[in-house]
């Protein structure tokens, strides 16, 4: 069986030794102990397992680890830089966009990829872009507010620089 030997995760080369058909989610969680991405359904329906591959949001539960080989994998653990949170992480705290927090990592990763695409999305674009993520606690309005807030913030930052 072909195996995946190395992954580039959060900017570092990580050794793994996983048969290639295993899900990226299980390799991240079980082999690399990156448990930020969550299992919620295993069928690509809830987005709790969302991570970025070359900046694009994917459902890691239905992504074979072989697809991540040679790509940049970003997980929730890799967003914070030198103790500084990503603007969307800040915005989640600011708006209180969580209850149990189980959907939060996946929500943030989906949001980060959305923000990277269209810098400053409006509410309809946010709803459309985040539709694949479920929050069972129903914090959707706050998540929309958080993404909007981070979008604005990133726009002003870009202007300033």
């Amino acid at each position: 069986m072909p195996r995946v030997i190395e992954l580039n995760v959060n900017g570092a080369a990580r050794r793994v030794n996983a048969s290639s058909e295993r899900s990226l989610l299980s390799v991240l969680r079980d082999d690399l102990d990156l448990t930020g991405a969550k299992y919620g359904c295993g069928e690509g329906q809830c987005g709790a397992c969302t991570v970025l591959l070359d900046g694009e949001a994917v459902r890691s539960c239905i992504t074979p680890v072989s697809r991540a080989a040679g790509k940049r994998v970003t997980t929730i653990e890799g967003l914070e830089q030198d103790g500084r949170l990503h603007p969307l992480q800040e915005a989640f705290l600011e708006t209180g966009a969580m209850q149990c927090g189980y959907c939060t990592p996946g929500m943030i990763m989906s949001g980060v990829s959305l923000l990277a695409k269209g810098a400053n999305p409006n509410d309809a674009e946010i709803v459309h872009g985040m539709q694949g993520n479920i929050c069972r606690c129903g914090t959707y309005p706050r998540i929309v507010a958080a993404v909007r807030m981070a979008g604005l913030h990133m726009k002003t930052q870009r202007r300033a620089s």
């Binding site: 990156l34 209850q99 149990c100 479920i134 129903g138």
Partner: protein, 682 residues
């Protein structure tokens, strides 16, 4: 941990500082979610304790579990308020059966009305003890000593909260006689303090039960029967055992595997060849309501008033209608999960549950060992909504851990969660009512079959009423749920109220007010109606407006909804919900709970339904069981009616009950068709 011995052990482990034990009478203990001790003469039991360490850190020990209802923060606020200390100095030690006093569980919205006041008293007592200590140590007047922002201050001197005890341990017991800061003077409680562990949540650092890792951990999988009631006749595990690292366990009907990684465990599971004997003739969802009625028992109403016959004889109009409610699943985003580890003859289990001590008892029973040898640790959980009272995954993981001699993690798949968890009860509700031409209700005869009695009591003033719950035989395993039967009962009652109003050509708001004397209920109704703009405008074509009121577990609400129906599909456009649960502890988090409840309620109102046939769940996947998503969310306006003069009441559940009937009433206005089932079919 309630015996004197363990208490003493525990206290010595705490070291120096001030310890305050919350002591409650056993009768109250039961109320606060604690074990009733049959026959004991009201023994005093300890429900929680608080320890101020010499470093000034305050540790609070309680058996309550955090599942997203935000009690880790709100309880910290309550303690900080009375201690006059910053929230950041408080650490909540929750739901670890070896560290915290016994607690019956986190459900029924009991944490805020019972646990929070106990902790506030403990904090107030601790503060008083420190003031006394400062008075004697510094030789100053008691009135001159103040505690502010985590420091004790008097006559130019000041000390941290932990500095005065000088290595000793001062133990205080508090009872009911401590006075508390009235809500009107709150500085920390009553305000929107950010979630204390928010940063761990947004960085992925928080470890849920399914994230717990132990050295040498194996991953477990359980062989599930092909249908409910199926018996395992034969198991061929030869192929599975061939796979390196795999352990197969068979004990009677229970068969499971464990392997060093989840993929191998899954492979081993599918390599098991099982033969099942199935049970034919099980009821399916298409016969559900007839089945529930056919198996119903007689009910009893101890609060009935007057005579239904008389009430109907007095009426100018009579109306009888039937409403039905499907089974729905909690679908917590984190499925049931457990990590179990045996060290010698002691078992430790990390699991997401609302009843850590209940699960400890289940585990002790399953392995025939004393409860003292079982430790259940509940990491803050990926929600429960009433769905995580039991310890199935914990027992399964512990069995595999015992057989393999290694720690085992077991995470239920979404499909297992849908199939082998329990569901919110389905029900049939029949109402017969009588009303005068002027809109005064004369009779209310209410029968709930199977789904339950909660939230069925009326706040309407009706001279003749009877409210009966008829337990029945449920084809599916059913259990607790956020608000439980209150949603079904509110849906039926408030829909029926609109049906009567319509028969009388009366405005639904006017009709309700006419029959309401309860001031708190009137206040929330008027607050919601005003915010909604009830009666100010007509809905646009294809839209409808609806109202509903609610009362359950001591709190009151009213909801107004605007719904658009296009091509037979209802879309909720706007919801106004007013909510009153006594004094508000944390307005922002209360809003979050109300919004979350309203959104969760959309699922049960419009799409969610567990379908079953032949002992099998027909739709056990998220692709087949639709839950609310971003695009389903209406504009939600929450009106909090803050009653600082009343004690705070829990709010994790009741806000869920008003949405379905308000939406049903709006759909009727939009289409002229009356939905009488949940989920609603238009």
């Amino acid at each position: 941990m309630t015996s004197e011995l363990t208490r003493r052990d525990f206290l010595s482990a705490l070291g120096g500082g001030v310890v305050v034990l919350c002591v409650v009478e056993a009768a109250d203990a039961q109320e606060s979610g604690r074990r009733a001790r049959g026959g004991d003469a009201r023994p005093q039991e300890i429900s929680a304790w608080l320890h101020i360490g010499e470093d000034g850190m305050v540790a609070v020990y309680t058996g309550k579990a955090e599942m997203g209802q935000n009690i880790r923060t709100s309880l910290s606020q309550a303690v900080a308020e009375e201690l006059h200390a910053p929230v950041a100095s408080i650490r909540m030690i929750m739901a670890d059966t070896d560290l915290v006093p016994y607690d019956m569980g986190t459900f029924g919205s009991r944490t805020t009305p019972t646990m929070a006041p106990q902790l506030r008293k403990a904090a107030a007592a601790a503060r008083e003890a420190l003031v006394e200590l400062a008075t004697s140590k510094w030789g100053v007047d008691r009135a001159a000593v103040q505690v502010a922002d985590g420091r004790i201050i008097a006559a130019g001197r000041s000390a941290g909260l932990g500095e005065l005890t000088g290595g000793q341990q001062l133990v205080h017991k508090i009872g009911a006689d401590v006075t508390l800061t009235p809500a009107i003077e709150w500085k920390i409680a009553g305000h929107s303090v950010p979630k204390v562990d928010g940063r761990d949540m947004v960085t992925g650092r928080h470890r849920f039960a399914s994230d717990v890792k132990r050295a040498g951990l194996l991953h477990g999988k359980v062989l599930r029967p092909v249908a409910f009631g199926a018996k395992l006749v034969n198991l061929d595990d030869a192929a599975a055992k061939q796979i390196p690292g795999v352990i197969v366990l068979r004990e009677g009907e229970f068969a499971a595997v464990a392997a060093p990684d989840a993929a191998t465990a899954e492979r081993a599971l599918s390599a098991l060849k099982a033969e099942w004997k199935t049970e034919e003739g099980q009821p399916s969802d298409s016969q559900l309501f007839a089945y529930l009625k056919a198996h119903a028992e007689a009910g009893e109403d101890r609060q009935a008033r007057g005579s239904i016959d008389q009430g109907l004889a007095d009426a100018d109009h009579k109306l009888s209608q039937t409403y039905t409610v499907a089974y729905i699943a909690h679908t917590p985003l984190e499925p049931r999960a457990a990590v179990a580890e045996w060290t010698g003859d002691k078992l430790t289990v990390w699991t997401g549950t609302q009843r850590p001590f209940g699960v400890r008892e289940e585990l002790a029973g399953a392995f025939g060992i004393p409860q003292e040898r079982v430790r259940v640790i509940v990491p803050d959980t990926g929600s429960g909504y009433g769905g995580k009272h039991s310890g199935e995954a914990a027992i399964e993981a512990a069995r595999l851990a015992k057989a393999s001699g290694k720690p085992v993690k077991l995470v239920w798949t979404r499909q297992e969660e849908f199939t082998w968890g329990y569901v919110r009860p389905a029900g049939v509700i029949e109402i017969t009512s009588g009303v005068k031409n002027d809109g005064r209700l004369t009779a209310w005869d209410f029968h709930n079959y199977n789904s339950g009695s909660s939230g069925a009591q009326i706040t309407y003033d009706i001279p003749h009423h009877r409210i009966l719950f008829h337990p029945s035989k449920s084809p599916l395993r059913q259990g607790s749920y956020r608000g439980l039967a209150a949603t079904a009962n509110h849906f039926a009652r408030e829909s029926h109220m609109d049906e009567i109003a319509q028969a009388l050509h009366m405005d639904p708001l006017e009709f309700r007010l006419k029959n309401l004397k309860d001031e708190r209920q009137r206040a929330v109704l008027l607050a919601a109606a005003e915010k909604f703009g009830w009666g100010k405008q007509k809905p646009e074509a294809g839209h409808g407006f609806g109202l509903a009121i609610g009362f359950e577990k001591g709190s009151y609400l009213a909801a107004g909804a605007e719904v658009a129906v296009e091509g037979g599909r209802p879309k909720i456009v706007r919801v106004v919900e007013s909510f009153e649960c006594g004094a508000v502890v944390n307005p922002d988090h209360l809003r979050n709970q109300v919004e979350g409840s309203v959104i969760m309620a959309i699922g049960g109102a419009l799409f969610e339904q567990i379908r079953f046939e032949n002992g099998r769940i027909v739709n056990p996947k998220l692709s087949q069981y639709r839950v609310p998503r971003f695009s389903d969310v209406p504009v939600i306006e929450t009106v909090l009616v803050d009653r600082k003069d009343l004690a705070p009441i829990g709010a994790g559940e009741t806000p869920i009950v008003g949405l379905a009937p308000a939406v049903a009433n709006a759909i009727f206005q939009a289409t002229g068709k009356r939905p009488r089932s949940l989920p609603m079919v238009v």
